[in-house]
Symmetry: C2
Subunit: 433 residues, 2 copies
Amino acid sequence: MMANLPTVLSLRHLFVLSLALNVSLILRMVYDEQGGNNNKKSMEVYNHNILKSRLVIPSTSFANSTRKDHSGVVDRVIKLDHGDPTMYERFWRQMGDRSTIVIPGWASMSYFSDGSSICWFLEPEFAKEVVRLHNVVGNAVTQGRHVVVGTGSSQLILAALYALSSPDALEPITVLSAVPYYSSYPSMVDYQKSGLYKWGGDAESFDKEVPYIELVTSPNNPDGYSRQTVVNRNQGLLIHDLAYYWPQYTPIVSASDYDLTLFTLSKSTGHAGMRIGWALVKDREVAKKMTKFIELNTIGVSKDSQLRAAKVLKTISDSSQDEESFFKYSYKIMEQRWKLLRAVVESGDLFSLPKFTSAFCTFFNQELEPQPAFAWLKCEGDIEDCESFLRGHKILTRGGRAFGDSPKYVRLSLLDTDENFMLLLDRLSTIQH
Amino acid sequence: MMANLPTVLSLRHLFVLSLALNVSLILRMVYDEQGGNNNKKSMEVYNHNILKSRLVIPSTSFANSTRKDHSGVVDRVIKLDHGDPTMYERFWRQMGDRSTIVIPGWASMSYFSDGSSICWFLEPEFAKEVVRLHNVVGNAVTQGRHVVVGTGSSQLILAALYALSSPDALEPITVLSAVPYYSSYPSMVDYQKSGLYKWGGDAESFDKEVPYIELVTSPNNPDGYSRQTVVNRNQGLLIHDLAYYWPQYTPIVSASDYDLTLFTLSKSTGHAGMRIGWALVKDREVAKKMTKFIELNTIGVSKDSQLRAAKVLKTISDSSQDEESFFKYSYKIMEQRWKLLRAVVESGDLFSLPKFTSAFCTFFNQELEPQPAFAWLKCEGDIEDCESFLRGHKILTRGGRAFGDSPKYVRLSLLDTDENFMLLLDRLSTIQH
């Protein structure tokens, strides 16, 4: 009878069976460690949801992979080298029409949004919802700040470098960030071979007495730790990249209050495809120069995405007190993913993860631990090149060298689909046992 | 009785009366010159539409200007220094729901669009409609080309400079364009002080034996003439900026067939606020490098705007054979605007306009004259600074110096609202008489 079943179907069944076995193993370990009953229900619900969603939702990706090679998902490469935040899609599906936007063909045709704003291409509705969300979450001071919108926060980093550097300087200003830094910083800074600024590498080892710009990413990408400035000298200019300073990733300890702070929709709400980021800028002249950069670079920022972003932020603020609020929902997923991941990692000796200390979160009103969007995983023992090692097990990650650090580390995204996350657990578990 | 009417109302009436008088003057002149009856009906219809729309549509701008200063629209500054294509809004309003787009909150969340394309953030639907529209219009060969989408064609110009230059070259490559060139080229090329490329000025006076990139804008911004390459040497690399190569502006004489060609929605359909442009690229490696630039610059291009752009392009292609097709509609407006403008300019000695020769348009299947999006107006006689002169009459334009040319010239946008265009005619007429 078994032999008569189509190969694809039986492989899929086998896979689900193997995963179910593994997951129950993981759950048992979590219990043993914590000795508690508290997490049992949520875990079971989560597990149930995962299995349900895996059987229902990913029919296309399943179909694709099995169509390509009859060995099925077991051989499928899982790509966790990017931080594509597809995890959030299910929440927005559940919200139904609440964040749907309708744009008629004649709307928003002009280059201009608001002639009275320093940032002339900024949609007032978007600016309003940005300020409102910061007030709801409590993660940034918005008073006395100019909002500058960008095509993702990538464009805003370049705009900030342009605004903080001087065309008359004899030497390009040095741009620093402490290791491990966001892997794209070096190429973003240097790809144009600009005479205004140049990449200077690790902020920790910077010993020259020259002007510099320090990029402070907090919580940090890749390792998730909260960060302060490192160099702390008079000639230092600062860009605070707070893409991950949201309650699902880290306790909100206070409202950030810096000169130039960057946020992005990609990591806060999961809408990476919109390419919308924003800067909160204290100095009027810096805001003007950033606006000028974006004018020369792309003559403004998509109105359609700004309007859609406004709607998405509004939906989050409107429902922030609901039982199924965006941040509660996403906090829960991150919490459960980190618990499962730690359980798998701690069941063997091959890998290790960063340890975080808890802090009081003013948003959730309780003591909480960070649960970053990326896992900064270390290969222990003899494995020198963790990225290659995991690639051999069909897990694509980004190796430590790209972040200025040892190749014993890799960064892997925890914002992917449930299916890919469970495959990750399954493979890490298989490698260790 | 008159004295009892509110000031605002009576001023508005006076203004409409004055315009009507001027327009009838203009119409009479057009007749005298052409001696024909052919244009009478369309002119009257146009005139009627303008007055109707002016009385109905611009209630807000009227209200604003009269509220601000009780002298009313007579004193209002008209801004024609940018090429904001607001003229097209009425067409898209008339199309009703045909180009409306609905985007649910969960859609297009990923960074990625199409893993199989060189340009991994290109929405397949947008690429399909780009190719289709070029086939409908006949203005570009798409076979054997890679489509690269950009945040407006500005970003694509930078992407092309990046792709065509070499990081290993000893000197930055020289970027040229023949005078008068698009006023933004020099600052777009030089604002980052890139070591890859640098602005070299007028292509006509280029005499160095070094590698170069020539920007060929055809029809040209600001003067509207069709252009060919100027330098024509072996080491030359070419970027063809065909933003205005559409039937409403110039006869489509053949399908363009270059190595690297740029188009943009801003000028073709009037959707400047979307920030969507595209490149047709012959060489696979150049397309890859352009994609890499956009990845480092903005990690892709707004999915929302790409989807909306696809819908807009589809609407145009679907209705290309209709009586009220987009290109027929916009051709007619441009034709009428140029006739009115020429009539006003030719009624005095103060100004002159470029003269164009007609050519056979394969799209409209008849011999037609160019009718550019900008008027390249020359102040005759003693007026040396045409921009200042017109500013004195509350008409904002961009002076010739910005385009590398004499200050006796100005560029003024003919893509603004009917109201502003009629005010322009009124003022130019008043200046001359």
